[in-house]
C-alpha cells in the first residue's frame, strides 16, 4: 500500500515536470537551443497569476489568461531581442544569452516583487480522488496536471502534424537552410515556436505553483533544469517523450527517496539518466541520428 502512495506522489511530481518539459522540448526541438530562461518565464507566469488573483482579487480564469498573454509577449520579445541576432552565430552564443536572460528575469523579479516568499493559492478547486477506502489520495492538482499534460501533448502533436505552421516548424527543425529555400519564413516560424512554448510555460506556471505554492524569484530555476533533464530523458524534440520523461523523472526521484536514500536521491536520479543515455544515446523516444559524412 505504501508503495502505491509513493508511486502516486511520484507521478504527481512527475506530471509537473512533464508539463514544463513539454514547453521546453518544443523550443528545444525546433529552435535547436537550450533555453535556460524557460524556467524563469514560468516564474514570471507564477507572479502574474499571483498578482491578478491574490493581490487584485480577480478570478483565476482571468489570472491564467493574463499569464498566458504576458508570458507569450515576454517569450517572443526575448527571442526577438536576445536570440534572433545570434541566429547565425555559434549555438553556444545563444546558450549564454539565454543564461543572461535568465539572470535578468530573476533579478528583475527580485527587485519588483521583493525577496519574501509568496504563497500561491491553488487555482484548482477539484476535490482529491480517494482510492482504497481513503488510503490512497490523488490530489486535484495531480489529476488536472496529468489531464492538461495529455491535452497539450495531443494538441501539440496535431498542431505540428496537421497545420501548415506546424509543418513549417518541422521543416525548420529538420534543415533550416532547406526550409528557407522552400519559402518558409524561418524567423516567423521560430517566433511562433517561442510564442507557443511561452504560452505553455504560463500553463505550466499555473499548475506548478498550484502544486507547490511557494513563489520566489528562484521558483523557475530548479524546474527549468529538471525539465531539461526530463526532455533529454524522453528524447529531445519528442513531444510524447517529454511527457514520459517528466513522469519517469518524478517517479524515480520519489521512489529513490522512499527506498534507497533521501539524501542521495538527486544523485540517483542523475545516475539513472546517465544509464538511460548510455543505453539509448538519444533518449527513450528519441530518433536515431544518422551520421553524415
Amino acid at each position: 500500500m505504501s508503495f502505491m502512495s509513493y508511486l502516486i506522489s511520484g507521478i504527481s511530481l512527475g506530471s509537473v515536470y512533464a508539463i514544463i518539459a513539454l514547453g521546453y522540448t518544443m523550443v528545444y526541438g525546433i529552435a535547436k537551443m537550450l533555453n535556460f530562461a524557460h524556467g524563469d518565464i514560468i516564474m514570471v507566469g507564477g507572479y502574474v497569476v499571483f498578482i491578478v488573483t491574490s493581490t487584485m482579487g480577480m478570478s483565476p480564469v482571468v489570472g491564467i489568461l493574463a499569464a498566458v498573454v504576458v508570458c507569450t509577449i515576454l517569450g517572443v520579445t526575448v527571442e526577438r531581442v536576445a536570440y534572433r541576432p545570434l541566429r547565425d552565430a555559434s549555438p553556444l552564443a545563444v546558450l549564454i544569452t539565454a543564461i543572461g536572460v535568465s539572470y535578468l528575469l530573476q533579478n528583475l523579479a527580485l527587485l519588483l516583487f521583493g525577496a519574501d516568499t509568496k504563497s500561491f493559492t491553488s487555482v484548482i478547486t477539484m476535490e482529491p480522488l480517494k482510492l482504497a477506502g481513503g488510503q490512497l489520495l490523488i490530489s486535484g492538482e495531480t489529476i488536472v496536471t496529468i489531464l492538461s499534460g495529455i491535452i497539450v501533448m495531443i494538441g501539440l502533436t496535431l498542431f505540428i502534424n496537421k497545420t501548415k505552421t506546424g509543418q513549417a516548424m518541422l521543416a525548420v527543425s529538420e534543415d533550416r537552410g532547406a526550409a528557407t529555400l522552400m519559402g518558409i519564413n524561418v524567423n516567423k516560424t521560430i517566433s511562433v515556436t517561442f510564442a507557443i512554448g511561452s504560452a505553455l510555460a504560463a500553463v505550466a506556471a499555473v499548475l506548478y505553483c498550484s502544486a507547490y505554492p511557494a513563489l520566489t524569484s528562484q521558483t523557475g530555476a530548479m524546474p527549468g533544469i529538471k525539465a531539461f533533464v526530463a526532455a533529454v530523458f524522453g528524447g529531445i524534440g519528442s513531444i510524447p517523450g517529454a511527457m514520459i520523461g517528466g513522469i519517469l523523472l518524478g517517479v524515480i526521484e520519489n521512489l529513490s527517496k522512499a527506498y534507497i536514500s533521501s539524501q542521495l536521491s538527486d544523485a540517483i536520479v542523475f545516475s539513472v539518466l546517465i544509464i538511460v543515455l548510455l543505453v539509448r544515446p538519444t533518449g527513450i523516444m528519441g530518433r536515431k541520428i544518422s551520421e553524415k559524412v
Binding site: 537550450l34 535556460f36 536576445a82 541576432p85 545570434l86 547565425d88 552565430a89 555559434s90 553556444l92 552564443a93 546558450l95 549564454i96 544569452t97 543564461i99 543572461g100 536572460v101 539572470y103 535578468l104 533579478n107 528583475l108 527587485l111 533544469i225 531539461f228 533533464v229 533529454v232 529531445i236 536514500s261 539524501q263 542521495l264 538527486d266 544523485a267 542523475f270 545516475s271 539518466l273 546517465i274 543515455l277 548510455l278 544515446p281 538519444t282 533518449g283 541520428i289 551520421e291 559524412v293
Partner: protein
C-alpha cells in the same frame, strides 16, 4: 581557412599570452608593494587566477575538442575536496606551502582519474546529450560530497554516508569532512604568486598541447570525426586525453580555490551547474578556442560584478544586461559586420590624414 588563420595567430600569440599574464603580475605586484591596491582588488587576485585556469581548461574541451561540457565545476569540486582534505590532515605537520604543492598534485591526479572514469562512458555521446550527462555527473558529485562524513581518531579513519553520529569517533576525534558543512579550517596557503604560476603552467600545458601533433589530431576529430577516424586516428583516445587533462587542470583550480578560503562546502553556487555554466560563459565570451580570450573574459567577468557593487540592488540586474549586450555585440553576425566596417572607416580616416 579559418583554422589556418587561427593556427598562425596561435604561434604569434602564445608568447603574447604569457607576456600578458606576466605583465599583469608585475603591475599588480608594484601596486601591492606601493600600497595602491584596494582590499577588494587584493582579495580578488587569487579568484581571478582560479577562474582563468578554469576557463582555459574548459576551453580545451569546448574549444579545441569541440565537446560541450556542463560539468566542469564537478571536477573543480573533486580537486578542491581531495586537496583540502590532504592539507587538513597534514595541517601543522608540514610547511603550508609544501602541503599546498602536494595538495595541488593530489587534486590534479584525483580530478584526472574522475575525468577518465567519466570520460570513457560519456564521450560516446554527442552535443546536447553529452552536455546533460556532464551536468548530471557534476550534480552527482556535489550531492554525494554533501553526504560524506569522514572523521579521524586514534583508531584511524571513520567514514559514514549518513551522519556525524554514525562516525562513532572516540576521544579526541576530529571530523574532517562534515557533510553539508564540508571541510573547515583549511590553511589559507593560496597566494597570488602561486596562482599566477599555476595559470602560467596551465597556459603552457594547454597551448603546447594544442600546437602539438596530439592537439592537431584533437582538432581534426572536432572538425570531422569520420574523416579523422578514416585516417586512423584513435578518436576515443584523443578525446579522452583532452577531457582528462582539462579535468586535472580544473582540479588544480579547485585546490587553489579551497586554499583561498578556510571553508569548503559543495553548494549549488560554487560547485553546481551554475558555476559550470559561468565558466562556459567565460569561454564563449572570450572566443571558443581562443585561450587568451578565455583569460581576459574570466578576469573581466569576475571583476564586473565586484566593480558594480556601488549599484547596490541593481548590481546583478546590470550584470545580466551587460552580459547579454556583450554576447550580442561580440557574436552576432550583424555586430561583427558593423565592427569591421567601423574599423575600416577608422583605417581610411587615418590613411587620409597621413596622406
Amino acid at each position: 581557412m579559418k583554422m589556418a588563420k587561427a593556427k598562425k595567430n596561435f604561434w604569434q600569440g602564445s608568447g603574447l599570452t604569457y607576456g600578458m599574464v606576466i605583465l599583469a603580475y608585475i603591475l599588480v605586484e608594484i601596486a601591492l608593494k606601493t600600497d595602491h591596491m584596494s582590499s577588494l582588488m587584493e582579495g580578488l587576485l587569487v579568484p581571478l587566477c582560479t577562474y582563468s585556469i578554469l576557463a582555459v581548461s574548459l576551453n580545451l574541451v569546448v574549444g579545441i575538442s569541440g565537446e560541450l561540457s556542463l560539468g566542469h565545476a564537478g571536477f573543480m569540486c573533486v580537486g578542491a575536496f581531495s586537496g583540502a582534505l590532504f592539507s587538513k590532515i597534514m595541517k601543522g605537520s608540514i610547511d603550508p606551502t609544501v602541503s599546498l604543492v602536494i595538495a595541488i598534485l593530489i587534486g590534479a591526479a584525483v580530478a584526472a582519474v574522475f575525468g577518465i572514469l567519466i570520460g570513457i562512458p560519456v564521450l560516446r555521446l554527442r552535443g546536447d546529450y553529452l552536455a546533460i550527462v556532464t551536468l548530471a555527473f557534476g550534480e552527482i558529485i556535489k550531492n554525494i560530497i554533501n553526504a560524506i562524513y569522514l572523521g579521524r581518531d586514534v583508531n584511524g579513519f571513520h567514514f559514514s554516508m549518513k551522519s556525524e553520529i554514525e562516525l562513532g569517533l572516540g576521544e579526541g576525534g576530529e571530523t574532517l569532512i562534515k557533510g553539508a558543512q564540508g571541510i573547515t579550517g583549511t590553511p589559507q596557503a593560496s597566494t597570488f604568486t602561486i596562482g599566477v604560476i599555476l595559470l602560467l603552467i596551465t597556459l603552457f600545458i594547454v597551448m603546447n598541447l594544442v600546437n602539438s601533433r596530439t592537439g592537431r589530431a584533437i582538432m581534426a576529430i572536432r572538425d570531422n570525426r569520420i574523416a579523422a577516424e578514416s585516417i586512423g586516428l584513435n578518436v576515443t583516445k584523443y578525446k579522452l586525453l583532452a577531457f582528462s587533462v582539462s579535468a586535472a587542470l580544473a582540479g588544480v583550480a579547485g585546490v587553489l580555490y579551497a586554499h583561498n578560503l578556510t571553508t569548503l562546502a559543495a553548494l549549488p553556487k560554487n560547485f553546481g551547474y551554475n558555476q559550470s555554466i559561468m565558466i562556459l560563459v567565460f569561454v564563449v565570451l572570450g572566443g571558443i578556442g581562443n585561450i587568451r580570450g578565455s583569460v581576459i573574459a574570466a578576469v573581466v567577468l569576475t571583476l564586473l560584478p565586484e566593480l558594480l557593487r556601488g549599484l547596490n540592488n541593481y548590481r546583478m540586474l546590470i550584470y545580466a544586461i551587460v552580459l547579454i549586450a556583450l554576447m550580442l555585440f561580440n557574436s552576432s553576425p550583424k555586430a561583427i559586420e558593423m565592427r569591421e566596417r567601423a574599423a575600416e572607416w577608422f583605417k581610411k580616416k587615418r590613411q587620409a590624414k597621413e596622406a
